[in-house]
């Protein structure tokens, strides 16, 4: 299927979009819409074309659907701090009516946006001209009923709720509950529970801030609600642990129900062991049975029923282990890679450097490295698998570790919930790939 090695990998390059530095990518629940957030506080939404009956060899392409400025830079005068407008996360709400809703957040403020289409407008007012000017009432001699007439499609985004002033530290995650009424937001030390309708208060459910800040040893790095159990959520830490909490147990979920932690391999100890064990992303599988975590060098799949070690571990770029000092110097070791599941939870994907991204098939245990770059891929060409040569003789077509470009990193990837379409964000470009449908 997707990673069958008998034939070449049939992944087509469909689409490229250049933007400001992309900071988040997210498909909506149907996969028809794809939202990206960038460093400039903008959100760009792409929509999949409806399937063209004449072109059966591919699904629809994604075109720009809506663009709006979600967050602006702010200044906290009390602390003399500038608040970046960069969009850290976008999460879609399930569609309930004709409009679409999404949550977008920067470091401090979460906003609920309504994206709606307008393709009709009323015409034939009695007191107004078509351009909006008011008519002189004395000139009205007859009455008519205004009617809706079609117009060019207009997509409007309007902020419906603004959830502010609840986070002292930088927000790193938002996650919508399966009850579709509440959501959580997590910063470095606290997690808050919100109701989508209520903006003036939130409920603190996790607080790991020590009484004495000098005793701080770990921070929260990501949090997510369970996809099916509305009382369950997990949060990951900079120490490489994941805590699963049940909101029924107590109001403040400082005590976890489960603690997932793998003992460290002592042979791998170095100055940077702690940094590379910090978890940068946690994602539940669609089934809710598993969760996946991403640390600097690997992806781990955990069974929620087993806390002492992951059930699967995939090395993303183990060849970097000997380069940690250089990566520390150039700050790359702090890069926060995300990871994602495919719709059937059989394949997981994550990004790497040199614009490489990796997929791991959990069933066949095969993995593949692909590159997202315009130079190498014209639209509709099949992607060639890549290989990094860690040491020794470099074969033809292999790339040596030292020639990797660490400025080209893929931190954000997303997989269509139903089809084999993936969105991969390099620094400035968004790529959309799909597998070839024969």
């Amino acid at each position: 299927m997707w990673l069958n090695q008998e034939r070449s990998t049939d992944i087509l390059f469909l689409f490229g979009y250049t933007a400001d530095i992309i900071s988040t990518v997210e498909f909506n629940h149907s996969g028809e819409l794809l939202a990206t957030g960038d460093k400039g506080g903008r959100v760009v939404i792409f929509q999949q074309e409806q399937e063209n009956k004449t072109q059966t060899h591919s699904r629809g392409e994604y075109n720009v659907y809506s663009t709006f400025q979600s967050h602006e830079p702010e200044f906290d005068y009390l602390k003399s701090l500038e608040i970046e407008e960069k969009i850290n996360k976008i999460r879609w709400l399930p569609q309930k009516n004709a409009a679409q809703f999404l949550l977008s957040t920067n470091d401090k403020t979460i906003k609920l946006w309504k994206i709606s289409e307008r393709d009709k407008r009323p015409e034939g007012y009695n007191l107004k001209e078509e351009d909006g000017r008011y008519r002189d009432p004395t000139t009205v001699t007859t009455l008519r009923v205004p009617v809706f007439r079609p117009m060019d499609l207009m997509v409007e985004a309007s902020p419906r709720r603004i959830f502010a002033n609840a986070h002292t530290y930088h927000i790193n995650s938002i996650s919508i509950n399966s009850d579709y009424e509440t959501y959580l937001s997590a910063d470095d030390l606290r997690i808050n529970l919100w109701h989508l309708e209520i903006t003036d208060r939130s409920f603190n459910i996790v607080d790991i801030k020590p009484a004495n800040m000098e005793e701080l040893t770990e921070v929260i790095t990501a949090a997510e609600f369970h996809p099916n159990s509305c009382n369950t959520f997990v949060y990951s830490s900079s120490k490489g642990t994941i805590r699963l909490c049940d909101m029924r147990a107590s109001a403040l979920c400082d005590r976890h129900s489960k603690l997932f932690e793998e003992p460290e391999d002592p042979s791998n100890r170095s100055f940077f062991s702690e940094i590379i064990s910090s978890i940068s992303d946690v994602k539940f599988s669609h089934s809710g049975r598993y969760m996946m975590t991403r640390d600097y060098l690997s992806v781990k799949i955990w069974d929620l029923n087993m806390e002492n070690r992951p059930v699967e571990t995939y090395q993303v770029h183990e060849y970097l282990r000997s380069k940690l000092c250089s990566l520390y110097e150039n700050d790359c070791i702090f890069d926060k890679f995300e990871c994602c599941w495919n719709g059937s939870d059989s394949v997981v994907m994550t990004g790497s450097y040199n614009n490489f991204f990796r997929m791991f098939d959990r069933n066949t245990k095969r993995d593949i490295t692909l590159e997202a770059s315009r130079e190498n891929n014209k639209p509709r060409t099949v992607l060639k698998p890549r290989k990094v040569c860690a040491s020794g003789k470099r074969k033809k077509d292999e790339i040596s570790v030292d020639s990797l470009d660490f400025n080209k990193k893929i931190l954000h990837t997303a997989w269509h919930p139903k089809e084999n379409i993936i969105a991969v964000a390099t620094t400035n470009n968004l790529y959309i790939f799909q597998d070839k449908v024969n």
């Binding site: 030390l189 000098e214 100055f271």
Partner: protein, 306 residues
């Protein structure tokens, strides 16, 4: 030996990162600074335990600088240093020889700058004296002495094991005096005697600032005294990192807001990542003109201004 150099290099880089994080947009990133502080601690431990230091045993050396240096802080009349130097007596009591004269010689750099005195009688500061390192080394050494010779503020012998993993607490050694794992000594943060700068009377951050320049973690006392202290808690500043961060001015009433942390000073002019270019408060001739002290000057200037 190469471990020590590597460790030192990592310490330098880490301090540069912490400084840079202060000036970047969006405020200090707690997560990144915590990770950097963990690396700093690891590097420091390696630095301390490296036998090439010449000290007897791990972490042994630096608690007792050579006598001439002891005199300096003891007699340091630095105005504004509210506290006496309780450590001085402990220093002299210290049975361990100042084996690592090399390590110890890093310490004088601090009182020298602090005291604004000519550094006569003190050994030349070491090239790679990262201000933080000597401070911590002193503390570790003091801690490892198990309280003996520590002087009154340290109280009874400490637990052998530090139950927390705070920066500055060697995991397998005795905890720092101010380790939260044990009963805190309220009367004294454990400033090493050689860093009187720490005791900024105004406590408005000059203390922590200076303290950090001299090495970081034990700035608690001045920080407590600082009127900004209560406000700091909610200002995204960790303790360990806060010590490092406060030096970079966020609580220092703006005076040093843009000045670097004096984080590094390599005598040989080793390229440092940060603060040099940003130094705004080059002091002047009153200070020892050793290049190693150049980076410490902004603190002194600020302190003088106070």
């Amino acid at each position: 030996m190469e471990f020590k150099l590597e460790a030192h290099r990592i310490v330098s880089i880490s301090l540069g990162k912490i400084y840079n994080s202060r000036v970047q947009r969006g405020g200090i990133k707690l997560h990144k600074n915590l990770l950097v502080s963990l690396v700093l601690r690891s590097a420091r431990q390696v630095y301390l335990s490296d036998p090439c230091l010449g000290a007897p045993g791990a972490g042994g050396p630096p608690q007792s600088p050579p006598p001439q240096q002891q005199q300096q802080p003891a007699g340091d009349p630095t105005s504004g240093w509210g506290e006496a130097l309780p450590r001085d007596s402990s220093m002299e009591q210290d049975p361990e020889p100042a084996g690592a004269s090399s390590a110890a010689s890093e310490l004088p750099a601090l009182p020298l700058a602090l005291g604004k005195r000519p550094p006569e009688g003190s050994p030349p500061p070491r090239a790679e004296a990262v201000p933080e390192a000597p401070r911590r080394r002193v503390e570790a050494a003091e801690a490892e002495r198990g309280g003996g010779g520590e002087g009154a503020p340290e109280g009874p012998p400490r637990a052998r094991h530090c139950c927390c993993r705070r920066l500055g607490c060697p995991p397998h050694g005795a905890p720092r005096a101010d380790c939260g794992c044990r009963q805190r000594q309220d009367d004294g943060a454990p400033p090493p005697p050689v860093c009187p700068r720490k005791r900024s009377a105004s406590g408005a951050g000059g203390g922590p600032a200076g303290c950090l320049a001299s090495g970081g973690s034990p700035v608690k006392k001045p920080r407590r005294d600082s009127e900004e202290q209560p406000g700091e808690e909610e200002e995204m500043e960790t303790g360990n990192v806060a010590n490092l961060i406060t030096i970079f001015g966020s609580s220092f009433s703006g005076l040093l807001r843009k000045t670097p942390g004096g984080g590094r000073e390599d005598e040989d002019g080793e390229e440092e990542e940060s603060p040099r270019g940003a130094e705004a408060e080059e002091p002047g001739p009153m200070y020892c003109d050793k290049p190693v002290l150049r980076n410490l000057n902004p603190w002194s200037t600020a302190i003088v201004a106070f």
